[in-house]
Symmetry: C2
Subunit: 153 residues, 2 copies
């Protein structure tokens, strides 16, 4: 059951072997495609976030895995923990309306948004304080004839 040879994989992302549009890729290509390491993919699998097929011991990622990985990376980008991402994805039911999942996602998103805004406020604070300190230090450097007014004791 040959699926995607390394060479072919590098040259051609689409492969019409096997069933129509199965588009299976191995871990190396997957990693390259999404800018993550092999370790990361295995780690996500270990944490139950991904579930690639196997050809013997070799992982084969499907379209579905790619969609999930995209979501994981989006979640990561907006600051969700992998645990949160998992919680949300675990609620997915291909046969339902997924109202619960969407509600949970929205709920978590609101909280995360609040966290992000708080963080931004903290960073703005920090930027201001730091700027002030820098101005002070520049002052001291420019008048460094009065040594006793230095930083720290």
């Amino acid at each position: 059951m040959k699926l995607v040879s390394p060479g072919a994989a590098a040259a051609n992302t689409n492969d019409m072997s096997d069933k129509a549009g199965e588009d299976l890729v191995r871990i190396g290509e997957m990693a390259k495609k999404y800018g993550v390491t092999l370790r990361t993919l295995r780690f996500y699998e270990d944490k139950g976030l991904l579930n690639p097929q196997r050809d013997g011991s070799t992982r084969l990622y499907t379209r579905r895995d790619k969609a999930r990985l995209k979501l994981i990376l989006l979640g990561r980008k907006v600051g969700f923990s992998l645990r949160d991402v998992k919680q949300m994805m675990d609620l997915y039911d291909p046969t339902g309306s997924n109202t619960k999942q969407l509600r949970l996602a929205l709920d978590k998103s609101e909280k995360q948004l609040a966290r992000l805004q708080k963080q931004r406020a903290l960073i703005d604070d920090a930027i201001n304080e730091l700027s002030n300190s820098m101005a002070a230090v520049r002052q001291m450097l420019s008048e460094r004839a009065a040594p006793q007014a230095s930083v720290a004791g």
Copy 2:
């Protein structure tokens, strides 16, 4: 050599015992005064950031320690690592102009400022992405008659 009894410490921060204006406080008062835990103060000492006197085994913090702690907390607030803070403080020389120290502080500050600005940009990005996602989820919740257009696979 009694310095500050627990009761007296709670009632009176200034103590004129011993030499003039020595103002020694024990770890508990110090912690309360600056909103940190005992563990934190001991940790900072362990890392070489503080160097309180001792009365036997009991730590006694001087005016100097307070100044240093203030600097540590400021550094922490603006996002410096303790290692950075230490580096800067270690350059302090009470007999010199401290030009080197000030220059290092300025240099590190510039870099930290850049980091903070980058962080802010990342957070802004995250906020935008998250807001978009939330809008999409709200959409899907409002039209949840089309189950196939859900999140994750």
